[in-house]
Amino acid sequence: MPKNSKSKNNNEGKRDFLIISTYAMAGIGAAAVAWPLIDQMNPAADTLALASTEVDLSSLEEGQAITVTWRGKPVFVRHRTPEEIKLAKEVSLDDMRHPETDEERVPNEKFIVLVGVCTHLGCVPLGQKSGDVKGQYGGWFCPCHGSHYDHSGRIRKGPAPTNLEVPSYKFLSDNVIKIG
C-alpha cells in the first residue's frame, strides 16, 4: 500500500476500473458460451422441417371427425352438421372466457380444424369418436380436469384459459387442406 494519498486514490480508481471491466468481460464471455448450451434444447432443424401436413377431406361425411398428426400433436378436423354450425354462430359471446366469433375461427364453416390439445395442461379432449363424451356444450370435453368446449372449440366451462387453438392452414383445393 503506497503511503502517498494522491497516488493511492489514482491507483484505486484504476484498479476498480480494471476489476469491473474484467468482471464484465468475463460475464459476457460466460453468457456467450452458455447460450449454445441452452439453445441446443430448442427444436432442431429437422424437427422444424416436419412442420406441415396435408389432409384429404373428401371422404369425411357430415357429422364425422378425423384426427391427424401435425408436429407430434393431434389435429381435429370435423365436418359439422348444419345444426352444429347454427349453434356455433348464434350463441352470444357475452359470457365467454375467450370471446371469438365462429367466423373468426372457421373460414369454411363446414370444416372446423383445431389443434386437439386442451389449453389447460395439454391433454387430448374427447369428442372425436361418436361414442365420446362431448361435454355440456356438445363440442369436446377434456377429462383431465374437466374443460368443456363448444362446437367452435371455444372454452365454455372448466379450468382451460383459452379456446382450442386453430392451426394455420389453407385449402389447397375444395377438399384438401394443408396444415402448417
Binding site: 427444436p43 400433436k73 391433454c123 379450468p159
Partner: protein
C-alpha cells in the same frame, strides 16, 4: 496428538498424508450424539441408504435401457422378461423411489414436530428442502423413461405447467420439449438429467451432513446439548441402532418388491405411450398427489401453478416463519395439536389428488389447501404470541436421570 490413533500401518501411512481415516473416525465413530434420540432419527440414514440403492440399481438399469420413443417401452419390457434378474433390479428401482419418498417425508415431519429447522440449523433445513426438490425432479423424469401412457401424459401435463408463465411460458415449454410436443428429444434429455441429478443430490447431501455435524443432531426435547453427559459416541450406539432400523426397513421394502411390486404404480403405465389418446383419469405418482391436489384446487391456471410451487417455497422460509424459540412440540401444547392437523391435511390432500376434480372433492381440496397455507403463513408466525409453552428441562439428562444429573448439569454449567 503426535501418536496416531490407528494401529494398522497402512492406514496410519495413508492417514498421515490423506486424513480420510481421521475424518471418518471423528465424524462417524466418536461423533458425540444426543443420547435421547428416538426412532424418528433413523430416517436420515435410511434416506442415504435409499439414495445409494437408487444409484446402484439405476446404473445397471441404464445398461439395458434405450432412450428412444420407438424402443424405450420395449427395452423396459425386455428388462422385465429377458435380462437376467432384470425384473428384480427394476422392481427395486421402481419401489425404491416410493420408499425413498416415504422415508424422506417422515424425515421432514420429524423435523416439523421437533423444530429441527430452527436456529442454528436453518441452512441444514434449507439444504434438505433443496434435496426434496431435486428428488421430485429426478423421480418425475425417471417416471417418463418407461414411456408408458402415464409417463407420457404425466410429462405432458407437468411440462405444460410452465406455459402458465405470462409472455414467455409457451417458449419455455417448447424449449423444455425440444419440439412441439413431448417427443423423442424430450425423452432423451430426461434420461440424461435423470442420470445426472442423483449425483447432484449426493453433493447436496454431503453439504447437508456438513451442516448437521456443525451443531450435531437436534433431539426429542429440542434443547441444546450441555456437555458430554448428554451425549454418547455415534459408534457403536447409533451405528447399531441405524442398522437395526435398516433391517426393519428392508423387511418392508422386500415385502413390497417381492409381493406387491406394482401396488404403488399405475396399470396404465404398462400401455405404451400414445400421443393421440389421453387416459380417462391421469394421476401422478402418489408422492406428488398432495401438490397435484393444490394445483387443481385453484380455479386459475397460473394461480394453481403458483400455489403448487408456493407449497414448497414456504418450507424454504419456515425457519423465519416460525417465531417460537421452543423447538420441540413436547413443550408446545397448542402447536402440537396443529402439527397433527397439518399431517392429516397433507394426507387428505394426497387422497384428493387421486380423486377426479369434481363436486365435493374440489371443495375439500380448496379447504385443505387453505389450511396448508394458513398453517405456514399465519399460524407459525402468530401462535407464539398466544401459546404458553411448558417449562423446558435444564438438560437432556434431567428428564431421564432426575435429580442427580440435574445437579451435575448445574455443575458443568457453573464451570463454564
Amino acid at each position: 496428538m503426535s501418536k496416531s490413533k490407528f494401529k494398522n500401518p497402512v492406514v496410519k501411512w495413508i492417514d498421515h498424508r490423506l486424513p480420510v481415516f481421521s475424518f471418518m473416525d471423528h465424524e462417524l465413530n466418536h461423533y458425540p450424539t444426543p443420547k435421547n434420540l428416538n426412532y424418528f432419527w433413523n430416517f436420515g440414514s435410511l434416506a442415504g441408504f435409499a439414495l445409494v440403492t437408487m444409484i446402484v440399481t439405476g446404473i445397471v438399469l441404464s445398461m439395458n435401457y434405450t432412450a428412444h420413443v420407438d424402443y424405450a417401452f420395449d427395452s423396459v419390457e425386455r428388462i422385465m422378461r429377458d435380462v437376467n434378474h432384470g425384473w428384480l433390479i427394476r422392481y427395486i428401482h421402481m419401489n425404491g423411489a416410493s420408499f425413498f419418498f416415504i422415508v424422506v417425508y417422515i424425515h421432514i415431519f420429524r423435523g416439523l414436530y421437533y423444530g429441527s429447522y430452527k436456529a442454528p440449523r436453518e441452512l441444514l433445513w434449507i439444504l434438505g428442502v433443496l434435496i426434496l426438490l431435486l428428488m421430485m425432479a429426478t423421480a418425475f423424469m425417471g417416471y417418463v423413461l418407461p414411456w408408458g401412457q402415464m409417463s407420457f401424459w404425466g410429462a405432458t401435463v407437468i411440462t405444460n405447467l410452465f406455459s402458465a408463465i405470462p409472455l414467455v411460458g409457451e417458449s419455455i415449454v417448447t424449449w423444455l420439449w425440444g419440439g412441439f410436443s413431448v417427443d423423442n428429444s424430450t425423452l432423451n434429455r430426461f434420461f440424461s438429467l435423470h442420470f445426472v441429478l442423483p449425483f447432484v443430490i449426493v453433493g447436496v447431501v454431503i453439504l447437508h451432513l456438513i451442516a448437521l455435524h456443525r451443531f450435531g443432531s437436534n433431539n426429542p426435547i429440542g434443547i441444546d446439548v450441555k456437555g458430554t453427559q448428554d451425549t454418547v459416541p455415534f459408534s457403536p450406539y447409533y451405528t447399531i441402532k441405524d442398522l437395526f432400523g435398516l433391517s426393519v426397513f428392508l423387511s418392508f421394502f422386500a415385502a413390497a418388491v417381492f409381493f406387491f411390486p406394482n401396488f404403488m404404480g399405475h396399470p396404465d403405465n404398462y400401455i405404451e405411450a400414445n400421443p393421440m389418446v389421453t387416459p380417462a383419469h391421469i394421476v401422478p405418482e402418489w408422492y406428488f398427489l398432495p401438490f397435484y391436489a393444490i394445483l387443481r384446487a385453484i380455479p386459475d391456471k397460473l394461480g394453481g401453478v403458483l400455489f403448487m410451487f408456493g407449497a414448497i417455497a414456504v418450507l424454504f422460509v419456515l425457519p423465519w416463519l416460525d417465531r417460537s424459540s421452543v423447538r420441540s412440540s413436547q413443550f408446545r401444547p397448542i402447536y402440537k395439536i396443529f402439527f397433527w392437523i397439518l399431517l392429516f391435511d397433507c394426507i387428505l390432500l394426497g387422497y384428493l389428488g387421486a380423486m377426479p376434480a369434481e363436486g365435493i372433492y374440489v371443495i375439500l381440496s380448496r379447504i385443505a389447501t387453505a389450511y396448508y397455507f394458513f398453517h405456514f403463513l399465519i399460524l407459525f408466525p402468530l401462535l407464539p404470541y398466544i401459546e404458553k409453552t411448558k417449562p423446558l428441562p435444564i438438560s437432556i439428562s434431567e428428564p431421564i436421570l432426575g435429580g442427580a444429573a440435574t445437579a451435575s448439569a448445574f455443575a458443568t454449567r457453573e464451570k463454564k
